[in-house]
Symmetry: C2
Amino acid sequence: MTSDLAVCLVSGGLDSGVAAALAGREYRLALLHCNYGQRTEGRELQAFHDLADYFAVPEKLRLVVDLDHFRRIGGSSLTDRARGIPAGEPGPGEVPSTYVPFRNANLLALAVSWGEVIGAKRVFIGAMEEDSSGYPDCREDFFRVFNLAIELGTGPGCEIRVETPLIHLAKAEVVRRGLEIGAPLHLTWSCYVSPGPEPCGLCASCRLRARGFQEAGVSDPAGGGSVSE
Amino acid sequence: MTSDLAVCLVSGGLDSGVAAALAGREYRLALLHCNYGQRTEGRELQAFHDLADYFAVPEKLRLVVDLDHFRRIGGSSLTDRARGIPAGEPGPGEVPSTYVPFRNANLLALAVSWGEVIGAKRVFIGAMEEDSSGYPDCREDFFRVFNLAIELGTGPGCEIRVETPLIHLAKAEVVRRGLEIGAPLHLTWSCYVSPGPEPCGLCASCRLRARGFQEAGVSDPAGGGSVSE
């Protein structure tokens, strides 16, 4: 544990909850949450604050940012109310309709801007390449190159680099890793569709989560059901 | 002239005005403007719409986005009202206090998100490496690497790459190039300080602009004065 700061992108989901817990073992946490017009904005924000409270992150190290222009930009079933969120998961090689174009670049750029000002050393993001293979901005190569852009595009004193501790894990491994380190999985929210209090249990994100817990052999402390095909 | 779209980042300044004019010779224009809490926000937005009107860009291909979290993030004299904007220019090798941390990465990421949705082929930005050598996110290398991040982080159908047509020009050359192609220099606004109608004439941006026109041997059609040392 150093006194160095890490900015963690925390959507409020399972992955970002575990990523933040991992970051918190080595760094002081600064948590960043973005509303970007997604349907479950309010419920995700609640999960963010629940996690921030759990990690005892002071107010000045929480940043909540509205990127509601993503709704205006559209191009994703997550933000575009005229498109339905598909039940089930996309086929192999397919970019899911829930892909928000180049979203992670926007989130990382923002995290780096904040991190540069507060003198952070790291930016953590809970992206997973395998379980979200259809999202191009979740690939390890993307993050590797983004780190070069940070090195070139920030001031001389800035040493930020992006860490992706979950990048090679499958969902069940994230669950196991989270349990191992005592991450507050019960406070996380993954559903793409329901505004709360219960997840829909049908969307791709609910299914992926449910299968993760099932494969890990534990029940979901946030109350998600099992996978129904 | 193709029917392909290019997203141009248009602050409303001299450089973005010339960059957009250059882009408009080859592409249909989609113009993006960001308010990020800078002092001259209102005047810059006016310049943006003046330029968009001049280029006859339809409303649906104009996007104005509020990134006012940059004011909350701070770290720059451009957005932090508690800090003064220095008169004159920074010393060699110095990062100017007007540097907004990693701003260009945020602007480019947003431009790419929009561009991916509307099917654009290019993103134009009027960055200049030499006349803004203190801004790390104005280096050609930064843009080169950002292009790799775009290639890796966007969907399979997306061919966007960033173009920086002014990257190796000095300010006087931008003025000359702008005059050569008939860019509407009279509609642009460069001042960092004044809310209008007249530029302050003293800030680094005013001085750089005035010197550019002086060296190009023409008077500034937007009415900027000459450089007083």
